[in-house]
């Protein structure tokens, strides 16, 4: 009887530590964040008065917030689209390669595995005005030297460029796995029907890949919202806030100005944006195939 009891509760006992950890570090921060977003909360002052919606009102009336929202939108959409386009192109090319595929693939894994802090610092070094190697290439092409990261117009594109360098390989590897999973039959049928290479790509490859494409785009979008390390290393949100994304704004307000309450309000808004974006996408596509899988 005792043994039977243990058998019944066994699965739950085994799960408990992991579930408790997940609950502790997700529910508590969220509730706490929600609470202090209605407070004037500074870690160094004892008085933490409730101020109602003041933080949110201030947020929506501040130019800095709308600017950060715009920059986040530009950063996320341009890097994800570029990474997808380049990644898909490379995956198709690599898939047609007879030999050397594995070698290329293993080289392409390197950017993904690199610490974003290292990537950020190396790109900052390469983009340096005086001794950056990028300017050497630019000059030998006949253009003039540029201070990429301190130019308000170029800093954001430079950041996107860095992100594209690091994460295009990720797109490529996922899409390559998808390409390899497509059976031969639809291609044979397309060939019999006399479809051109381009037609085959549009009408056979893309539809067959659609689910993986959606998931790859989703994963990269989620991650692009997180960008922090590279901004920290390359621009620190500058020049004049032109690379200050929402995540950077949270960090700035929290740990530079010690306005935790205000930072928390930014977090809540950021969460709402991400969750509504995902709900919208997931309503359109059954990504997890919850219906069919279980």
């Amino acid at each position: 009887m005792k043994n039977f009891r243990l058998q019944r509760s066994g699965p739950y006992l085994v799960m408990a530590p992991g579930i408790i950890l997940l609950l502790l570090f997700s529910i508590y921060p969220f509730l706490f964040l929600l609470k202090i977003s209605f407070q004037e909360y500074s870690p160094i002052s004892l008085d933490k008065p409730f101020v109602g919606f003041d933080n949110y009102v201030r947020l929506f009336s501040e130019h800095h917030f709308w600017n950060a929202l715009k920059i986040t939108a530009i950063f996320v959409s341009s890097s994800v689209i570029l990474e997808f386009a380049l990644g898909l192109g490379l995956a198709v090319v690599l898939n047609q390669l007879g030999w050397g595929q594995r070698l290329y693939q293993s080289a392409m894994l390197l950017p993904i595995a690199m610490a974003p802090t290292v990537v950020g610092l190396m790109f900052r070094f390469m983009m340096n005005e005086q001794y950056g190697v990028l300017n050497y290439f630019v000059e030998s092409l006949g253009f003039s030297r540029t201070a990429w990261l301190s130019d308000p117009v170029l800093a954001l594109p430079a950041l996107i460029f860095t992100d594209v360098w690091q994460w295009t390989p990720f797109m490529m590897i996922i899409l390559l796995a998808g390409l390899k999973g497509i059976p031969d039959e639809p291609y044979e049928a397309a060939m019999i029907d006399g479809a051109s290479a381009w037609q085959t790509f549009i009408y056979v490859t893309i539809p067959q890949l659609s689910r993986i494409i959606t998931i790859a785009l989703l994963l990269r979008t989620i991650d692009a919202f997180r960008i922090y390390d590279t901004i920290y290393m390359m621009t620190k949100g500058g020049p004049i806030n032109t690379t200050s994304t929402l995540s950077w704004m949270v960090y700035d307000n929290g740990f530079k100005f010690l306005e935790f309450g205000y930072g928390a309000a930014v977090c809540v808004v950021l969460l709402i944006i991400i969750v509504s974006l995902l709900t919208f996408v997931l309503k359109k596509v059954d990504v997890f195939e919850m219906g069919g899988k279980k």
């Binding site: 799960m15 090319v93 693939q105 950017p111 802090t117 001794y131 919850m290």
Partner: protein, 276 residues
Amino acid sequence: MIGRKPVSLRITNHTIVIIALIFFMFPVLWMLLTSLKNQIDAFTTVPKWTFAVTFDNYQTVLIERDFLKYLLNSLYVSALSTVLAVMLGSGIAYPFARYKLKGANHVLTWILTLRIVPPIVSILPIYLLFSNVGLLDSYTSLILMYTFMNLPLATWLLYGFFKDIPGEIEESALVDGCNRFTAFFRVVFPIIGPGLVSAGLLSFIFAWNEFLFANILSGPTVRTAPVGLNEYATPVSVLWGQIAAAGTMIVLPIAIITIILQRKMVSGLTMGAVKG
């Protein structure tokens, strides 16, 4: 597949791939070269491709600037949190894959949604939490954080692997006199080895590279390598040779593991996507 590709197409394909390879490898190579240059060779308007190789940067960084200690801190924190994430992840994934548990779908979806939350969102409360219990600048805080960070992915990857094992294998072990626990360790465990390696590898890389939490939660005692690296990039003087050397030492171990375990890495990265 269908016949051989025309020669012109094959040449175009190889050209594209080689250009891509140069583009994606150049920054890594440039870092390695910079780390082996002396101060004068590193700071030139026209890049120097040939130079006298020196290991001074490595020596300075490792010995005078405590980088060895930071690397060991990183190793300790990443290894321990990886073991924990894989263990706790198996603990969640295995029962869900093996038993019909009520609400399994909901719990698994909830775990997956945790990956969606940007880490920056939890940094303010987590900082206050650890500072209240006096755990700032401790290994415990970083290990707990990284375990939490990697647990959703580990759970989902392992869930996929456990699902693929037919229940009969275990049942026959039970008939042969194993109990649930010994059946797990003797029969299931060896089969999902590859899954454990995939989940462990990704967890280790994420923990090793992590900067946001490390920067906020760690002080001088448990400073990890990415945070240490940042110290060399002061606004006043940026010591690129030393940064490149430290950067190379952060990347090198990961690069070696990635090349050795290439298949596991690819299956880990794609399984989340392919299997959902």
